[in-house]
């Protein structure tokens, strides 16, 4: 049991280290460090409606993070979750536009599927570039994120733009109220069930199928699985596409759920946070579930903090950045430091 507990303690310790770094920076610019840290906890867990907020921010992250786990386990550093998430939302928004007028039981599944297809496609080309040409997926998926962000600007101020009023919003028309799967500021049973399904299916895929075990082996040593006769390319492409589809699903959930419309530049850190979650969870699907809720709480707190403490938004960015900086650190490494100094 201690084996399971250890990573949790380790991660907790490094989050503390990250917060210490933040406090140093805050102290340097004259902000109260302890006050800020207390406010973070307060905002995460003790604000009104805290649980609802945590679920609202955590669950879509969870869906994307499960996808990231699947592709990372297969050995591919697909950092394109953000772009795949955007493409999912864009495709779902197009589907919603085309299906205008149709009943919810048709439109909602269709939009969710369209979102998955969009995300999957946005993961497919880096996958093919990787397995066919050997082009590094870190760069291709990163570029994919930039391109997707431009696409989002384009569709929200062009083809999907809401023409109502003076037409000055860079966003799509609101989706039909009947299709919404959650309220704007909260979560809903539908999203909870969707996220639960994704976790369960993801867990099953990773732990109870051939694909799960072979992709885990391939992720650590593709040569070995090749010599076992597995088709590594097929595993790779499936892993990319699955992770893209899940990011796309999260995009369409955001569209039909809390957002209710497609807006230029929405949730710009979604993909990156999902990657953090996957890494912190140590590539475990179930752990990703809990860590996603932790990050949901952090996001919720980050929105509460400027209101309560007047903390500048840059300070919130710094908290996130320091956590990213430290959270993948490994314990026992400090021992290495001592050895190094002895040299």
């Amino acid at each position: 049991m201690t084996g399971r507990l250890f990573p949790v303690i380790q991660t907790g310790a490094f989050i503390v280290l990250a917060l210490v770094l933040c406090s140093l920076i805050f102290a340097a610019v004259g902000l109260s460090a302890t006050g800020t840290l207390a406010a973070i906890i307060d905002g995460a867990f003790f604000r009104p409606n805290a649980l609802n907020h945590i679920l609202r921010w955590g669950l879509p992250l969870l869906i994307t993070a499960v996808g990231v786990v699947i592709s990372f386990r297969a050995g591919y550093f697909n950092i394109g979750a953000q772009g795949q998430f955007y493409l999912g939302a864009i495709c779902a928004a197009f589907a919603a536009e085309w299906l205008r007028g149709s009943p919810a039981f048709v439109a909602v599944p269709a939009c969710l599927l369209a979102g998955m297809a969009g995300g999957a496609l946005w993961a497919l080309w880096p996958a093919l570039l990787r397995v066919k040409a050997g082009a590094d997926e870190v760069i291709t998926t990163m570029m994919g994120n930039f391109i997707a962000a431009q696409l989002l600007v384009h569709v929200t101020s062009g083809p999907l733009k809401d023409p109502s009023g003076s037409g000055q919003q860079a966003s799509s028309r609101p989706v039909d109220a009947a299709w919404r799967i959650s309220e704007s500021s909260g979560s809903s049973p539908v999203i909870i069930i969707l996220a639960g399904l994704v976790v369960m299916l993801g867990w099953w895929l990773v732990n109870r199928t051939s694909f799960g075990i072979l992709s885990g082996l391939a992720g650590r040593n593709p040569v070995m699985v090749t010599w076992q006769g597995a088709k590594v390319q097929r595993i790779a492409v499936s892993a990319f596409v699955l992770s893209g589809a899940l990011a796309g699903l999260a995009g369409s959930v955001e569209l039909l759920g809390p957002n209710g419309r497609l807006a230029s530049g929405f949730l710009p850190d979604h993909g990156f946070t999902a990657i953090l979650i996957a890494l912190v969870a140590g590539m475990s699907i179930v752990a990703a579930g809990f860590i996603a809720l932790f990050f949901g709480a952090l996001t919720s707190s980050g929105l509460w903090l400027p209101i309560m403490t007047g903390l500048p938004s840059a300070a919130i960015d710094i908290i996130h950045a320091s956590i990213a900086l430290f959270i993948t650190a490994k314990a026992g490494a400090l021992r290495a430091l001592l050895t190094w100094f002895r040299r």
């Binding site: 431009q150 003076s166 000055q168 919003q169 500021s185 530049g265 400027p306």
Partner: protein, 314 residues
């Protein structure tokens, strides 16, 4: 921790540091809060997904006044404001709400009209017959400004060309400089900017050679380069915020819509007084000659005899 007068919050959806609307709103917010012993909060909301949560949180925190900007916050306002009847919501740069929500005031700006005037002015300043427009990101309000600028210019001389380019960011002065340099070397000699902090690079590019002028958007930019910044299409969000917040504290305040635009002092085409002193001789003369035409167009717009098309598509 709140001061006696309560909390007044500005939720700005564009980044601070633009030497323009956002900076001036923050300054006025702080000034207003000090005068009324209120706690000011300037909250940067970059992500549209967070608007509702932020407004709800402000409501829950018992904010007295919440000010926000641009049409993107309209739907969140409609969703949140009814839940917090004691909080007064002000949306600057808005379409009117139908039906009116009793605790929301919307203020519309006809910024594009100022751009139209700049187009008229530009058409009379240019010697090459080539004008430029540089926006931050191609979003609908910026597109509308470009279309109005172009319409104004073509109304003077249909043979002019108006090039348009976007930097892709409101915070990228280097890109602004690169775009402006290319425009200037193409023979363009007048650029209207609409790109917040990106403008700094455009002004720098104009300063690199004689005969290049830019029209920007805030009086604070006049001194950056007195010989190149010829004018601005001003939009005084800060004053607007101050005025609306003052009204909100008065008794008998109620929600509704407020139109501001040309003629109210909030939006106007304003020639640079510094340029009038220090600008190159020939351009100063051209500017002096052009201004009466601008005034004439302004009057016609105000009395309704001239209608300027509003088009948010590129």
């Amino acid at each position: 921790a709140n001061a006696a007068g309560g909390l007044i919050a500005l939720v700005h959806t564009q980044a601070a540091g633009d030497a323009g609307p956002v900076d001036s709103m923050i300054a006025k917010l702080n000034e207003f809060a000090k005068e009324h012993d209120m706690t000011p909060r300037a909250i940067y909301a970059e992500d549209p997904s967070t608007y509702e949560t932020i407004f709800t949180s402000l409501g829950e925190a018992g904010a007295a006044i919440v000010v926000s900007t641009f049409n993107e916050v309209a739907e969140p306002f409609k969703a949140v404001a009814p839940n917090f009847p004691d909080t007064k919501f002000i949306q600057l740069f808005a379409d009117p709400f139908e039906p009116v929500i009793p605790n929301v005031v919307t203020v519309s700006y006809d910024y594009y009209l100022g751009c139209y005037l700049s187009g008229i002015f530009a058409a009379r300043i240019t010697r090459s017959g080539k004008l430029g427009f540089i926006g931050g990101i191609s979003i609908p309000p910026i597109n509308a400004d470009y279309n109005a600028f172009k319409a104004g210019a073509l109304s003077v001389n249909p043979d002019l060309t108006v090039a348009v380019a976007f930097a892709g960011s409101f915070q990228d002065p280097a890109k602004g400089q690169e775009i402006a340099s290319q425009m200037f070397s193409d023979g363009i000699d007048y650029i209207q900017t609409d790109a917040a902090a990106t403008d700094f690079g455009i002004i720098a590019a104009a300063g690199e050679n004689d005969g290049r002028v830019v029209s920007t958007l805030d009086p604070a930019q006049f001194p950056l380069d007195p010989e190149s910044v010829i004018s601005i299409v001003g939009l005084d969000f800060g004053t607007s915020l101050y005025n609306e917040a003052t009204k909100a504290l008065e008794s008998g305040w109620s929600g509704g819509h407020q139109s501001t635009g040309l003629g109210t002092g909030v939006i106007d085409f304003i020639p640079s007084p510094l340029f009038a002193e220090k600008g190159p001789e020939d351009l100063r003369k051209l500017a002096e000659a052009a201004l009466p035409f601008v005034d004439e167009a302004r009057n016609k717009i105000l009395d309704g005899s001239l209608s300027v098309p509003f088009d948010t598509n590129l």
